[in-house]
Amino acid sequence: MATSTRPERKESSADAAALHRQYLRHMLLIRRFEEKAGEAYSLGKIGGFCHLYIGQEAVAVGAITGLRPDDYVTSAYREHGQALARGIPPRAVMAELFGKATGCSHGKGGSMHLFDANLGFLGGHGIVGSHIPIAAGAAFAIKYRGGDQVSVCFFGEAAANIGAFHEALNMASLWDLPAVFICENNGYGMGTAVARASAVQQLSVRGNAYDMPAEMVDGQDVAVVREAVDRAVARARKESKPTLLELRTYRYVGHSMSDAAHGTYRTKDEVEEYRRRDPIKLLAERMRNAGTLDDAGYAALDAEVKAEVEDAYAFAESSPDPDPAALYADVYAPGGR
């Protein structure tokens, strides 16, 4: 069982600088997008459940930026970050949160069901752990067709306690499926701490049960995430073997918009402690030390993504609701009943 905490890549090259800038922009975009989504939710513009990704940005960005356009990405219901990192335009994601016809699921899915078939983004699933076999199924299809794509699946650590996780990982390993299972361990399933839900505290050890390579990874350091996911993706693409990655991360906000950031199940101090290893701060500091970012550069980048988020917000707000006839559309395939 390997444990990754430090990047192996040299960071002085121009390539690394460009890559870091790309990471920073993606993470800032997700952060600002989620802040705006939280604001919109409070104003009643977003309904239902809304699970924000603030604090976990390095996971989605580090994991997805290295994928090929024809790979598959499947996620759970805290998936705004992955959707944006995969390249679904902020306008389409925000419009979906608003339930508008211009949303990436045409207003039929909402916050928990973001889809983009063209980007291989297979959801957006609201039943804990249910999408892990689905992602394994996409990997099965890749192998069936003799392709070299990879199916990447994101899920929270609480999903590692449900049967679907175990059944999917067993078959993925048994059949050598090209899948990467990314367990985002943010410490809590809703308000239940890992220690109160799992017999093992290090979830990556569960790879042993399925003879699957596994790593525990620092999920706050985007470069470390990228390195670990690159290794797993290479294993899937070249050897058609699955990997389980446990990415240690933390969500600053409540489980959903209807629950406080701290109070009953964790303390304010704990949240503040984790904020010190904020993934955006961590990367920005590294870039400053390398001389590739200064305050003005950071401010400009932040202003740029904020403008993009404002544009998405305005777009979502001015977009039309789905046509009333959409109610009965897409229940069955065209021509069916």
Binding site: Y72, T74, G103, C104, S105, H106, G107, K108, G109, H113, F115, D116, A117, G120, L122, G123, G124, H125, G126, I127, S130, H131, I132, P133, I134, A135, A136, G137, A138, A139, F140, A141, I142, Y144, R145, S151, G163, A164, H166, E167, A168, N170, M171, L174, A329, D330, V331, Y332, A333, G336, R337
Partner: protein, 326 residues
């Protein structure tokens, strides 16, 4: 016309569709090396190899989900449930994923998949192995539910199910596998959503499906000896329901008995009765009567089990009641 068993007709459908389309594969418990728990997949591993005939661990939820994921990205899985009793473990994938993926993705990602296997009671298998779940699945928008009663329908409907772009729940009859019947030679399909008159009659309509088709036919035979001509309408598909066929039969006979294996509460018959009372109230000369499985878990004891099942005597009695002959 060739005469073959219901089992062999299904086998032929799978074989033909797998030859026709490389995207079609069969996955489930014991489907490959064991040749199928009920031998529906006999010979397929030998013919198509392990890539396309895939044995699974006992993990219904897991392999149902793998089927859903594979279907979302372009394959056409046929997922065998050893029996529909075990599919309860997979119902999250069927209902929460397969049935609504197209809708919640705004039409982007369909799930062309067939979940198939035997349903209903066999003989003395007890409460956990003797259940009819068609009304559960038929309740769910996004699913189609198909239940063939004869070898010819089994083959034609399974071929249609595999070609359908929607998730199809295909419930076979554990007690039907050995039944023989004529099956057309050559290529044919039977359309989903179309009922079939298995015996024409003018006095009373028996609406039935799957195993209860033979129950209704036996009842019709007995009644014919007494001068009553019953029409036996085999639904073949539960969803979408062939409302037109039901209404046109009732318009002719003015009386109806709905027969099903499943439990009475919120059963398939309840839906049929609702449609008839709304659309053909004036055509009815008597209240519709339902003959169902008893509203109990299936008992093991042979006599109790017999008492729990819909049988020809119960259908005859119901027919006499709606004909005011009782």
């Amino acid at each position: 016309m060739a005469v073959m068993t219901y089992r062999d007709a299904l086998n032929q459908a799978l074989r033909e569709e797998m030859h026709r389309d490389d995207r079609v594969f069969l996955m489930g418990e014991e489907v490959a090396e064991y040749d199928g728990a009920y031998k529906v997949s006999r010979g397929l591993l030998k013919e198509f190899g392990a890539r396309r005939v895939v044995d699974t661990p006992i993990a219904e939820l897991g392999f149902a989900g793998i089927g859903v994921g594979a279907a979302m990205v372009g394959l056409r899985p046929v997922i065998e449930m050893m029996t529909w009793n075990f599919a309860l473990l997979a119902i999250d994938q069927i209902v929460n994923a397969a049935a609504k993926m197209r809708y919640m993705s705004g039409g982007q990602l369909g799930v062309p998949i067939v979940f198939r296997g035997p349903g209903g009671a066999a003989l003395q298998l007890g409460a956990q192995h003797s259940q009819s779940f068609e009304s559960w699945y038929a309740h769910v928008p996004g699913l189609k539910v198909v239940m063939p009663a004869t070898p010819a329908d089994a083959k034609g409907l399974l071929k249609s199910a595999i070609r359908d772009d929607n998730p199809v729940i295909f419930i076979e009859g554990e007690m039907l596998y050995n039944n023989k019947g004529e099956v057309p030679e050559g290529e044919y399909t039977t359309p989903i959503g179309s009922a079939d008159i298995k015996r024409p009659g003018r006095d009373v309509t028996f609406v039935c499906h799957a195993k209860t088709v033979s129950v209704a036919l036996k009842a019709a035979e007995q009644l014919a000896a007494e001068g009553v001509e019953a029409e036996v309408l085999d639904l073949r598909t539960i969803r979408p329901l062939d409302i037109e066929a039901i209404l046109s039969s009732v318009a002719k006979t003015n009386r109806c008995v709905v027969v099903e294996e499943g439990w009475p509460f919120a059963g398939v018959g309840a839906e049929v009765v609702d449609v008839i009372q709304r659309e053909a109230f004036d055509a009815l000369d008597a209240p519709i009567i339902r003959v169902t499985g008893a509203d109990v878990p299936m008992p093991y004891n042979k006599q109790l089990e017999k008492a729990a099942k819909a049988d020809p005597a119960k259908v005859v009695a119901a027919a006499k009641q709606v004909l005011y002959l009782a």
